[in-house]
């Protein structure tokens, strides 16, 4: 049964702007699973919003929907879609808005939670769930309306491997029940066992196939240091042995050996969702105040918000939280102005990253991956001595990966100590060391150091 059909659909965010989607043709039937891939910022999320019917802007072309079609949309950033404090309230939110009597809600909510494999008390606080559980909760909150079509925006980037396998099991069951799925995903291979139709969206055009960029070894742009000082090896961040615990809670993880970050090295911090990576970064930046002070030293001082100025940069997991100006160039120049640094660095940075076309665009309208890169570039302009990055590679295609690594390598050559978190192993020759945060233990993990330094 056909659920939805696009015929010659074009869409843009303003008549003076380039079209985001052009002459799209797509037909989705019950029980089908479609995957759309494409470069960062190509309009994949806009396509999902269009399919979900939540775009209030006008479009050209015809969109046919089955008269009884109900769609569910799970957005890229889980934090923006979860509204309520408890699991039960979150799933019941849509029902409340539809005016369903309270006594009829309970069985629907319980069924939706069972379908996604969440066997939790309804009063479980949402904040205690792992990201994988939160993602399944978001799906449950959509399933409660009994949608025929479920739209998922880049689940792989947000979830760790365990979360992905949990999600796969849920999606397999939903397809078997006749639900149609549309996934937007850079890493289509992770969901290959359920995907039936592959699409690629590039330059606004949708065609069959999987989007791939040139996988040939990329010729890295020569790294040019602005400062060029010889400061490799100096300890910029140090931590003695500690147990990390929130006030009044059991320890989240312990670090029996302590760790150090040296100037000029890129260290990854790898751990599952909810392991405590973000909390550690916030502690290092002085953003987290715990009663039990951690034995941390950053740039020779105990971490405190505001004392480091341009010497420390923190990239948050949600880039939209640190973007506030009305255009990209102003965004990048803001901190340069604040710390009285040359504003020309911003233009040069955009030029180096081949992002000059974004200079006049609003950072709030960019895709998740583009926002991540712009937020990172804004920090990189300051050439901080210590750079803390919370999952900087989320939502990026290979081309953007290359840009991020170009930036990180350049900063590293300038003597910045970089600590970046990820929920997957980061395989890149520029990574000096890896810290592993697994099963409540933070420790250094060998990643074949010789191989790293060869060449």
């Amino acid at each position: 049964m056909k659920l939805l059909e696009l015929d010659g659909v074009s869409f843009n965010y303003g008549s003076q702007l380039a079209p985001v989607l052009q002459e799209l043709k797509l037909s989705i039937g019950a029980g089908q699973c479609h995957c759309v891939s494409g470069p960062t910022g190509s309009g994949k999320s806009s396509l999902l919003n269009l399919l979900a019917g939540v775009l209030s802007r006008p479009h050209e072309g015809d969109i046919w929907r089955h008269p009884e079609l109900v769609t569910g949309l799970v957005m890229q950033d889980p934090q923006t879609q979860l509204l309520r404090q408890t699991v039960g309230a979150e799933v019941a939110f849509a029902l409340e808005n539809l005016g369903i009597p309270a006594e009829n809600m309970l069985p629907k909510v319980q069924l939706a939670l069972r379908r996604v494999g969440l066997f939790l008390r309804l009063d479980t606080p949402v904040s205690t769930l792992s990201l994988g559980q939160k993602y399944r909760l978001m799906i449950a909150a959509q399933l409660v309306c009994e949608p025929h079509l479920l739209l998922l925006d880049e689940p792989w980037a947000q979830l760790d491997d365990h979360g992905v396998s949990e999600l796969l099991a849920v999606l397999r069951n939903l397809i078997a029940e006749g639900m149609a799925l549309v996934l937007v995903e850079h890493n289509a291979a992770a969901f290959a066992e359920i995907i039936q139709h592959y699409w690629q969206l590039e330059a606004g055009r949708l065609s069959e196939g999987i989007y791939t960029v040139n996988d040939a070894p990329v010729q890295d742009v020569p790294v040019r240091a602005w400062g060029g000082a010889h400061h490799l090896g100096k300890v910029l961040v140090s931590a003695e042995a500690f147990d990390f615990c929130f006030d009044g809670c059991q320890p989240l993880f312990s670090c029996p050996q302590g760790f150090q970050l040296h100037a000029g090295e890129i260290v990854t911090l790898v751990g599952d969702n909810g392991a405590g990576k973000t909390s550690l970064l916030k502690s290092l930046a002085g953003m987290l105040h715990l009663k039990l002070r951690l034995p941390l030293k950053v740039l020779g001082r105990k971490p405190k918000l505001g004392v480091y100025g341009a010497e420390l940069g923190l990239l948050l997991q949600r880039p939209s939280r640190q973007l506030f100006e009305t255009n990209v160039l102003a965004e990048m120049q803001f901190s340069l102005n604040r710390f009285e640094l040359p504003t020309a660095r911003a233009e040069q940075m955009l030029l180096d990253l081949e992002l000059s076309a974004l200079a006049e665009q609003s950072p709030h309208k960019l895709s998740y991956g583009q926002q991540h890169l712009i937020a990172l570039a804004s920090l990189a302009c300051l050439q901080p001595k210590v750079l803390l990055l919370d999952d900087p590679l989320a939502g990026m295609d290979k081309e953007y990966y290359r840009k991020v690594w170009f930036l990180l390598k350049r900063l590293s050559a300038q003597g910045s100590a970089i600590l970046m978190t990820s929920h997957r192993l980061v395989e890149h020759s520029a990574v000096s060391r890896q810290l592993s945060l697994r099963q409540g233990l933070l420790a250094e993990e060998a990643i074949g150091m010789e191989e790293r330094y060869v060449g």
Binding site: G14, P58, E325, T326, H364
Partner: protein, 180 residues
């Protein structure tokens, strides 16, 4: 694509939000500045925000009408039933003059002109109250002129705040108009 969209629920709610916030702020702040015309600051700001966001005739009148009715019902401000005139007269004048202003004129200038026009209409209510109280016509006119001067200052301040707010809303993709 260029077809004028009907007034959406979102637009209607926005007008209601502006009107309610205008009355709530006026009622809460109750500024005893001893300066006549300071109420024009909030009024010109919220009316012009409606003008900039919706960009259609009647948006300011709707905002002023709702604000006047809410203020009258809640007893905010001085003047009893005349409070309705205080809110709606500037809105009508601003909406009518907005029709005449060329769109090629810069947004800042349009906002300032509309703010001053609104202030002149607001001063009519002051003059009407004075006339009803039995004031001589020449004194009524002098008082009207003084009100326009004082209110015009605050109206201009409020109007100048509008363009940056609109640009920020547009940057956050909350305005779906190509040009402000």
């Amino acid at each position: 694509m260029n077809k004028k969209l009907p007034l959406s629920l979102q637009d209607s709610l926005f007008i209601g939000f502006c009107a309610t916030l205008l009355v709530a702020l006026t009622g809460m702040l109750r500024l005893k500045l001893g300066l006549s015309g300071h109420s024009m600051f909030l009024m010109s700001f919220f009316y012009l925000i409606c003008y900039g966001v919706l960009g259609r005739f009647g948006s300011m009148i709707a905002c002023g009408g709702i604000a006047g009715l809410v203020a009258m019902a809640l007893g905010v401000g001085k003047g009893g039933p005349m409070i309705l005139l205080k809110f709606i007269l500037p809105a009508i004048a601003m909406d009518l003059v907005a029709l005449l202003l060329p769109l090629t004129l810069g947004l800042h200038w349009r906002c300032v002109i509309l703010g001053i026009v609104g202030c002149m209409a607001w001063a009519v209510k002051v003059a009407l109250t004075n006339a009803l109280a039995g004031m001589a016509l020449d004194v009524v006119l002098i008082q009207w002129g003084a009100s326009v001067l004082k209110g015009g200052f605050f109206a201009t301040l409020g109007a100048l705040l509008v363009p940056p707010v609109l640009h920020r809303l547009k940057a956050h993709d909350l305005l779906h108009r190509d040009k402000l």
